[in-house]
């Protein structure tokens, strides 16, 4: 009995202690895991930056199992010799000796990009491999990675020296500039001219400059709309009713008489605005700025030979635009309040708005029609400017860990010039995923019984895979848009800072503070909801308090350094 009591005491105490501990655990575990997660976020960057310091060591140590990687990847220039040597070796394949492809030894490539893995991926890959085997004797493994995990996974794969060939990169995801500085991508200047001459020729030399870092190109530009032709899109019924000659519009002020007529005749505030900045009057490119850091209003005059970085909010153009917006607000051309986007859309559908101030691109009026249900006509005010941000929005690079950079480039050439290959990866398999609606004009539709949701292959990201101007149209109304857009790109004037991209790492805090202010002040100012006479000085004062000058100084010093490398 006494023994029991003795035994029980520590036991029950122990149980209590345990329960306390367990309760502690319940609290501590999420906390620790949060901590761990936070650490986890930091680890890849630090680890990756160490590899950046010495890309060669990283390659050597991580791929001990496959020491060939580093050797073959670094000798991009020696690609010809490799190709030449292998031609001799492949004398054994006699069956398809007639085709050029047979002169190449078979290789397997990977293509990593950002997108949800579709259901029929394996089918498309199989069909794709039939084409690529015949053309370049290579099979391609498609590796789409979900958008939510793309950056993380790719970062780790680079850090771990995993084998990859083609990979999607951009300033906004799988950061191109970070990849270049860490040595994750192969410089492709020679490969490009040798193995993808048609792709290289399809874009102006100026546009290739946009992708240059320290004088070298590290990724292929995926062609799509590169410029921002700001202008206006107006409901056709209103244009007809008030007999507006839309081609006469050259700047925002020219809209005024028409706005007055609509306001009087329809009793509505014609310009559509929303709380996310829809309908603002100041647009950098319209005023000839290259907005290098758009979110914080830091840019330069695109034709400024001195390459002087300025605070765009402090310019006379910005002030004039704010004053115009205020005038329109007072006159009732713009609504007094900016609703959320969903409400703004509903208002538009209900006929309470009629004038959109946004980008005017080929086919844009059709998109607006599906969105709002009206016919539209559009007029651009802006002389298109080619900027780094616009041109490099979507890129395809070749990983340092690639065993076959030259064959990867050949595949990239197919993606950019071969309509069968490109549309297979963009749209899926003919008669399974899509059917011809109008073959002469290259218009396709979903295969019978399929919708965007039920189709087993509908990535709908043409701009991810290559030259978007080779994409089949998905609606009759789009026919002819691609050549027009290509022309728009070609006719644009390159900014003198084309090829420069700012790195905001050192001024992160300031950028965060300033962009918060921009959201708070700039949108109301440019929608006329705030009086610039009092609002603008306050805005500028707050900006300098938030470190605007520091951002400008930082970007200027980077731009000066860039200028030196260019000269």
């Amino acid at each position: 009995m006494s023994k029991d009591a003795n035994n029980d005491k520590p036991k029950s105490l122990n149980r209590r202690r345990f329960i306390k501990l367990a309760a502690g655990a319940a609290i501590a575990i999420p906390a620790t895991s949060a901590l761990l997660a936070a650490c986890g976020d930091n680890t890849p960057t630090t680890a990756a930056s160490t590899t950046a310091a010495s890309p060669t060591t990283a390659a050597a140590s991580t791929t001990a199992a496959s020491s060939t990687t580093a050797a073959s990847a670094t000798t991009a220039a020696g690609a010809t010799t490799a190709a030449g040597a292998t031609t001799a070796a492949s004398g054994t394949t006699t069956t398809a000796a007639a085709t050029a492809a047979a002169n190449l030894p078979p290789v397997e490539l990977t293509y990593t990009y950002r997108g949800a893995p579709p259901k029929d991926l394996a089918l498309v890959q199989e069909a794709l491999n039939k084409l690529t085997q015949a053309k370049i004797n290579a099979t391609v493994k498609l590796i789409p990675i979900d958008p939510g995990s793309f950056d993380q996974k790719v970062k780790l794969a680079f850090a771990a020296g995993e084998k990859m060939d083609l990979i999607f990169t951009a300033p906004w995801t799988n950061d191109y500039y970070q990849n270049v500085s860490q040595g994750n991508l192969v410089a492709i200047d020679d490969l490009l001219t040798k193995y993808a001459p048609k792709t290289y020729a399809s874009m102006t030399p100026a546009s290739w400059n946009a992708a240059r870092v320290n004088g070298k190109i590290y990724a292929i530009l995926n062609q799509q709309i590169w410029v921002k032709p700001w202008g206006t899109t107006i409901r056709k019924d209103l244009v007809d009713k008030y007999k507006l000659d839309i081609t006469s519009l050259k700047k925002y002020e020219d809209l005024e008489p028409f706005l007055a007529q609509v306001k009087a005749g329809e009793g509505i505030a014609p310009i559509a605005i929303d709380d996310q900045g829809g309908g603002v009057v100041f647009r950098p490119e319209f005023n000839g700025f290259d907005s290098i850091l758009d979110a914080v209003g830091v840019g330069m005059k695109a034709d400024d030979k001195d390459l002087k970085i300025i605070n765009m909010f402090a310019t006379s153009e910005y002030k004039a635009a704010a004053e115009l917006a205020r005038k329109w607000n007072q006159a009732g051309y713009m609504p007094k309040d900016a609703p959320p986007v969903a409400d703004a859309t509903a208002n538009f559908k209900a006929g309470k708005s009629g004038v959109i101030l946004h980008i005017v691109k080929p086919g844009g009026t059709i998109e607006y029609k599906t969105q709002y249900g009206y016919d539209f006509v559009a007029q651009s005010f802006t002389k298109p400017i080619l900027t780094t941000a616009g041109t490099t929005a979507t890129l395809t690079g070749i990983s340092r860990t690639s065993d076959n950079p030259e064959r990867s480039m050949m595949f990239a050439e197919l993606l950019n010039t071969d309509k069968d290959v490109y549309n297979l990866i963009c749209k899926g398999i003919e008669n399974k995923h899509w059917v011809w609606v109008d073959k002469a004009n290259e218009v396709i539709g979903f295969a019978p019984g399929l919708t965007p949701q039920t189709s087993g292959y509908n990535p709908n990201t043409d701009w991810m895979f290559g030259d978007q101007f080779n994409a089949y149209y998905i609606d009759k109304s789009q026919v002819g848009n691609w050549p027009k857009t290509a022309e728009l790109n070609k006719s644009s004037t390159p900014s003198l800072a084309l090829g420069f991209a700012a790195n905001t790492e050192k001024v992160k805090t300031e950028v965060a503070q300033v962009s918060a202010l921009v959201k708070q002040y700039s949108i109301p100012l440019q929608q006329g909801r705030q009086d610039p006479a009092s609002g603008l000085p306050e805005f500028l004062q707050k900006l300098s308090g938030a470190g605007m000058d520091k951002i400008i100084a930082e970007v200027q010093s980077q731009l000066d350094a860039w200028k030196k490398t260019k000269a």
């Binding site: 105490l13 501990l21 995990s149 771990a160």
Partner: protein, 300 residues
Amino acid sequence: MAMMEAANRKPFMVRLKSSNLIVHIVLMFFSILALIPFLMLVSASFSSEAGLGKNGYSLVPQDFSLGAYEYLFNDFGQILNSYFITVVVSFVGSGLGLLIMSMLAFALSRRDFKLRKPLAFYVFFTMLFNGGLVPWYILITQYLHLKNTIFALILPYLVVPWFVLLLRTYFAGLPAELFEAAKIDGAGEWRIFFQIVVPLSTPALATIGLFSLLQYWNDWWLSLLFIDDKSLYPLQYLLYTIQSNIDAISQNPDMNMGVVIPTQGVRMAMAVLAIGPIIFAFLFVQRYFVKGITLGGIKE
């Protein structure tokens, strides 16, 4: 728990003393606080997107719609498959983990085990320091070759140092005399562990088992790192990708082609799907919590 005990002993009317009543009201108040958001979540998952936008959340579905579930169940096979993966990973992982952790903890709790201190330090050390994400990733993908295998989802969480230390503390409180007595009666270490320690420690094991189960159930981090193959996506990661794809589509109007996705509703429906079965694990394991506490309480 107090309520359950009281109910066992006294008739209802006697229980309704004023002090009890206050306790009940307080408890009810808190359980309602916990229940209302949950009900709102379920109701929101059955509301149409327009209804949610107009009226916000409510306890009864506004403008009843199955749109969110239709969107999620668009690929029903995938959802089922992911459920299957999650269930397998959770139960195999937590079962195996519990076995290994409790055996390790038992060894660490024995004073007569010579390597106790260094081994305990080794376990403890990993709580504070680790090799970092990239080396860990390289280990798993290039040395263990676990990428795109189900083991990548199980192995990393098998032994959680914190749980081991919890169990060790519990085991250390068991009377050493018991083990001695068992030894004299001819029991080996295995028999002592499985026939004496385990039955005496059910509350501790159940608690740790539940923690481990939840850790596996809620995890999407391992699959984010190591799984590309859609047939191996666990439920949480599948839902995570569905959400991130919806976000990607809404950021890129080019992609949706005029398809309206019930964003809010889908988010809620996903939460409902994710908590569905695991909520029963609580009911099941709660028994042990109660038992553990009451046992200690009565005997004292």
